[in-house]
Amino acid sequence: MAQIKLFGYTDKISVRCGDEIKVHVNADGTDTADAQLVRLIHGDAHPSGPGFIEEEVACEANGAWAVTKQYTQVGSFLKVVDSERVLALDGSFTLFTYVWATLPAIGLRQTMIGRWDIRSNKGYGLGINRKGILEFWVGDGREVDSLEAEVPLMARIWYFVAVSFDAKTGRAELFQEPMLNRYNSLLGKVAPIDYRSHVAETLRFRPDNDLATPFLIAGAQDWHEARGHFVAQCFCGKLDRPGIYGRAMARDELAALQAGNRPADGQVAFWDTTAGYTPHGIGDTVVDTGPHRLDAQGYNRPVRAQTGYNWNGRNDCFRLAPEEYGGVEFHVDAMIDCNWQVTRTIKLPDTLKSGAYAFRLRAGPGRGLAEEYVVFFVRAKVAKAPIAFLVPTGSYLAYGNEHLSFDAQIIQPMTGQPPIVDEIDIEMYKNPDFGLSTYDAWEDGAGVCFSGYHRPIMNMRPKYRMSSMGTTWQFPADLSIIAWLDKLGFDYEILTEEDVHVEGLAALKPYKCVLSGTHPEYVSERILDATEDFIAEGGRFIYMGGNGYYWNVAYREDDPSVMEVRKLDSGMRAWAARPGEHYLQTTGDKSGLWRNRGRAPQKTLGVGFIGEGFESGKPFRRMPDSYHRTVSWITEGIEGEIIGEFGLAQGGSAGLELDRYDLKLGTPPHAKIIASSGGHTDNYVLSVEEILYAYPGMSGTQDYRIRADIVYFTAPNGGGVFSTGSIAFGQALPCNVFENNVSRLLKNVVDAFSADRALPGELWVSDEKQWR
């Protein structure tokens, strides 16, 4: 019998009690699973902490669920909606496109454009064959005939390719010409390469067009008995402005097409990939400006806002010159939305306490891959509590299903330890169906810029430990804060970044005190704005993490389930966007670091990213400023100067990623440093946005800047900000059953921040005129 595996996801990440939620489950080796709604309280199973804590909750959906095997379409492509079957071309035709292939020599057939059915061998297609050569092929269901160009396509070079096919004589002519300029391709003029190829041949067979075959750009239809129709032969690279004419064009006409002169005579379709750009981005629809308006719809988010064949280096954004941004980039392993069948639609109980919840699914042995937590967050129906924990869902997406331990050579020197992988990591690595994170690269080496939650996110699960670091990370680490709030009996509710992105300040406004997650690294402009406004209007914010409010990301208006980020220029980054491709297709905003757009996290939170290391954690030591009476209440009840010499993350409350106070980056001038960490090892290195010149000694034992600062400052209208500046801070809370000085410190702050009165210490404002 097959190994039992269960994976699932929900349609919504944030719901209110009483809402309906849809759960999508894929099961291998079983047809039933035992479901139980649980409230997740603590997620780190580390022996020095309280262990994993969950609370079973009564729900109509508890019990046995019928589950089935589900299939996932991997690979991005465009599908043309062609109900009139205009593109079932029975006569002569011409196909053309500009192309920039990234993996022509991979040894697999890649279809660029065509109406081709792999199983029945029917239709026509233009693509790259297994030898890496441009090929045009036709099939009538029994026989396939083809014509290939003379030389292989070179990777990352713009070409114009076309085929003109005369159905009467059977003559087909391939046209391949380079579109190289000084900027747009991998190679320049100095490489002595003749890219051109013009081959003509008389084909023996004609295409027979099946009624049901779809016209696809960057893929072809295939079929499997269990799965039905799906798309295969996906293309890797960029295509720009493909089109079709209903007649065989002569060589000089093709040359005119190459030059961009597209006559109306005989045009069947022309997908103008540059049409539809707005100052606020572009969606998945590629517009056909031809006579039949056969728009193409993107699947798995083909990447838009990419430079086209005519990009000449001057304009760096589609907003300046949309006509130079016709590039649509496809990836054979792109996976945004599993699109599985709904397994169960559940109406959640009306009485659910706001919190992190999951449907716990078990089958067979009920552990390892046979146990799955389908996580979602329940916010209050009406906000009542004074305290809210803001779940950094954007960052969960960014790290969703990361493969760093397996793919990234840099990860071991970075984390200073060999990775510890478990069954789930291996499953994720073996199986492309779960998609990638923004820390991974697609098959062709390009960085992944989209991540969504309509797929099982294996590291957004309780108990999960990040393999490369040997600690919890993101959601399971954030549960330590939730557990702390829960165990200390605070009246708190849960809110997700998605809610803040959608509702803005209104989502935060009802709360007096908002706590962030341990690593809220990826935030949209609206989330950043709402946070800033919340604080400025009297809200009190506790930034519980390190390296937060760092990347500028975007969500589509109609679909907050998918996040887009482009990593560029500086910042600790897993990849770098190519020149000219630094703007988010989703909003038209420049991506990259908030700091590089004039909004360093220090401006809002008082601290910002300075360095990271992953093999050790250190304590904080009180800073002299913490003895001032404006802030001395924060450390009340804490003996000695050392704070947090323990923690579930490498044994210290200052660790993993660290943030520092910096007036030059906008820390409010009255901010005080309550405590700072120090004595970090040389595995802790300066973050790259701090570095102008690289020189020796930019690591923990030698550079004073590498430290976490706990910073406090008051904000307008009675507001205030308390920042811990360290990811590991949250993981120190559960030590000694939540009784420790980190817990005490935070309790002092939360008590003061959530109280319905002015912040303590604000009367001590006079000049210091003291004898000592």
């Binding site: 199973a45 580390h46 022996p47 050569i133 026989e143 014509l147 160009a149 003379e150 030389v151 292989p152 490489a191 002595p192 390469i193 003749d194 051109r196 190829s197 013009h198 081959v199 003509a200 041949e201 008389t202 023996r204 067979f205 060589r251 493969h403 331990s405 397996f406 793919d407 990234a408 050579q409 071991q412 020197p413 200073g416 330890q417 060999p418 990775p419 510890i420 992988v421 478990d422 069954e423 291996i426 690595y429 073996k430 199986n431 492309p432 098959e443 108990k463 430990r465 093999e615 050790s616 250190k618 304590p619 010499e645 490498q650 120090g678 004595g679 090892t681 040389d682 034992t701 030698q702």
Partner: protein, 545 residues
């Protein structure tokens, strides 16, 4: 010489941090670079002039390609490519066989007219025999090579068809043009009958059976009155050669008719071997039938089909034989003609049309042209066959492939004697590297390892055991950084068996989609011990390299 390493973090945490550790004295990593001044082996110039012409690409010109009417096949299979040394466009004829075939056909067509007058009749009749045998062997090689059925009954089929056709003509007066059809019919019946045991018997036993069948046929016709035990065959069949023509005309007509026969056999070979049946059978080579069957290839049916089709072909040839020679004789079934036929195939190489034809040519030349050598001819044929079997893997036409394999073997032997294990690339290896950066990466890696081998010591291992994570002494830190920066392929990692209780060392694949492999069965009770286990393995690998 040992020293004490002072932990720079000691002031920060008092007793929590190791204050110091016994360590090794500083040794300069630059020393290995200063010491290494030349390669350990002599470096030879590499590179080769091209002694033949290659056509350049077509560039902007339209290249109109032609096909063999009415097929999809291009006249020549030409590969366009970039010369990796200078990026020049080149065209390579991937398969030059069509050119050789064409030249051979021309040679065969003009040969009778070029033969010296005095030897003309000998040569033309030898040529005719060559062509007929070539046709027979083309069908036979389909059975032996393509279908992989070890049948020696080929001559039995040809002979039976010849006898049957001759009898029809002699006893019933059927005209010459019916004889190939009669032969084909007999071939079909024989094919079906002989094919049946092929599904049951394997290799050697089947060969014996078919050889027995051949002998049975011979004994039968020698003893049968009907088939001319007295006259030594059945003679007087109708022939396509007009009666009364001069001997030269007769010879020429016979020669070209046989030529046409061979061309037909070639066409048959092409249609069976080069199309669906042939492809199916190439998926199921000998000793890998079980795998082919497992993936759904019905190789048995395909084999039988090929066998029957070839038998029909052999029957047609038998009919042609009867018509050309005006009858049939028991010598058709003789053991020596079976053996000579086998020699022809083996010399040329099994399963290849060109092998069947060239092998036939060589044997016929020896057997029929060098008549003056007497019986020593047969010894010569035997010697050639022996030589081919002993020295060549797949006949004369396997020589090129075999030579390349042998050269590659020698090449890697030479390289392994010259190259240092884990050392730098030799010029001959460097020229094959697509990314020249790798050449330097190997040099750098070698220098690093040479340095680090001198750094490893018991003290460092102990220091690591005490503290696998955190700040380390300078030499240990260097060692660890080197280990951590290694490429992903086969890099060690730790797999969880049970969190916080049991761990195991694995090695990453470095290829997305491929799970890590287990390195050892040993389990470690804590992360800390597993970290140290990985370190020990890495040190061991370093010292062994």
């Amino acid at each position: 010489m040992s020293e004490i390493w002072k932990n720079p973090l000691a002031p920060w945490r008092g007793d929590a941090e190791p204050q110091e550790a016994p360590s090794e004295a500083y040794s300069d990593p630059g020393e290995v670079w200063r010491a290494k001044r030349q390669s350990h082996t002599k470096l030879y110039k590499v590179g080769r002039l091209r002694y033949y012409h290659k056509w350049r690409g077509h560039g902007a010109k339209t290249w109109t390609r032609t096909r063999y009417w009415p097929t999809r096949r291009r006249v020549l299979d030409i590969r366009g490519e970039y010369n990796p040394k200078i990026l020049r466009r080149e065209k390579t004829i991937v398969d030059k066989r069509p050119i050789w075939w064409l030249l051979s056909f021309i040679a065969i067509a003009v040969a009778p007219f070029l033969a010296p007058k005095d030897l003309q009749s000998t040569l033309i009749s030898a040529g005719t025999v060559f062509l007929i045998y070539a046709a027979i062997n083309l069908c036979w090689t389909l059975i032996l090579g393509t279908a992989g059925i070890f049948s020696l009954a080929t001559m039995a089929v040809v002979g039976a068809a010849a006898y049957g056709a001759a009898s029809m003509s002699v006893f019933y007066g059927w005209p010459w043009w019916t004889l190939p059809f009669v032969g084909g019919g007999i071939g079909f019946v024989f094919g079906v009958v002989i094919a049946l045991p092929a599904t049951r018997l394997d290799g050697f036993y089947y060969a014996l059976l078919t050889l027995g069948l051949n002998e049975l046929c011979r004994v039968y016709v020698v003893q049968s009155r009907t088939f001319g035990s007295a006259t030594g065959g059945v003679y007087g069949a109708d022939s396509f050669i007009p009666t009364g023509a001069s001997q030269r005309v007769e010879l020429i007509i016979g020669y070209f008719a046989s030529f046409a026969l061979m061309l037909s056999a070639l066409a048959l070979f092409r249609f069976v071997n080069g199309k669906r049946l042939g492809r199916i059978l190439r998926m199921a080579p000998e000793k890998r039938e079980a795998f082919a069957q497992a993936v759904g290839i019905d190789y048995r049916t395909a084999r039988i089909q090929v066998f029957i089709i070839s038998s029909v072909g052999l029957g047609v040839i038998g009919g042609f034989y009867a018509s050309y020679f005006h009858g049939a004789s028991p010598s058709l079934f003789s053991f020596d003609s079976v053996l000579l036929g086998l020699a022809m195939l083996v010399i040329g190489g099994l399963g290849k049309a060109e092998g069947a034809v060239l092998g036939t040519f060589i044997v016929i030349v020896i057997d029929k042209v060098f008549l003056q050598l007497g019986p020593i001819r047969l010894i010569l044929v035997g010697a050639i066959m022996l030589g081919v079997v002993l020295l060549l893997k797949n006949g004369l036409f396997g020589i090129k492939h075999q030579f390349r394999d042998w050269r590659d073997k020698k090449k890697s032997e030479n390289r392994s004697t010259r190259a240092e294990k884990g050392g730098e690339m030799l010029p001959e290896e460097a020229t094959e590297a697509g990314d020249k950066d790798l050449i330097y990466a190997q040099r750098f890696d070698k220098m690093q390892r040479d340095y680090l081998k001198g750094v490893v010591s018991e003290k460092l291992v102990e220091e690591h055991a005490r503290n696998p994570l955190g700040q380390h002494s300078e030499p240990l830190e260097r060692l660890l950084l080197y280990f951590r920066r290694q490429p992903q392929v086969d890099k060690y990692a730790i797999a969880v068996i049970e969190p916080f209780k049991a761990y195991r060392i694995v090695a990453l694949s470095g290829h997305r989609g491929v799970a890590p492999r287990v390195v050892e069965e040993k389990t470690y009770p804590s992360e800390r011990e597993a970290y140290h286990g990985v370190f020990l393995r890495r040190v061991q690998d370093l010292l062994e390299s």
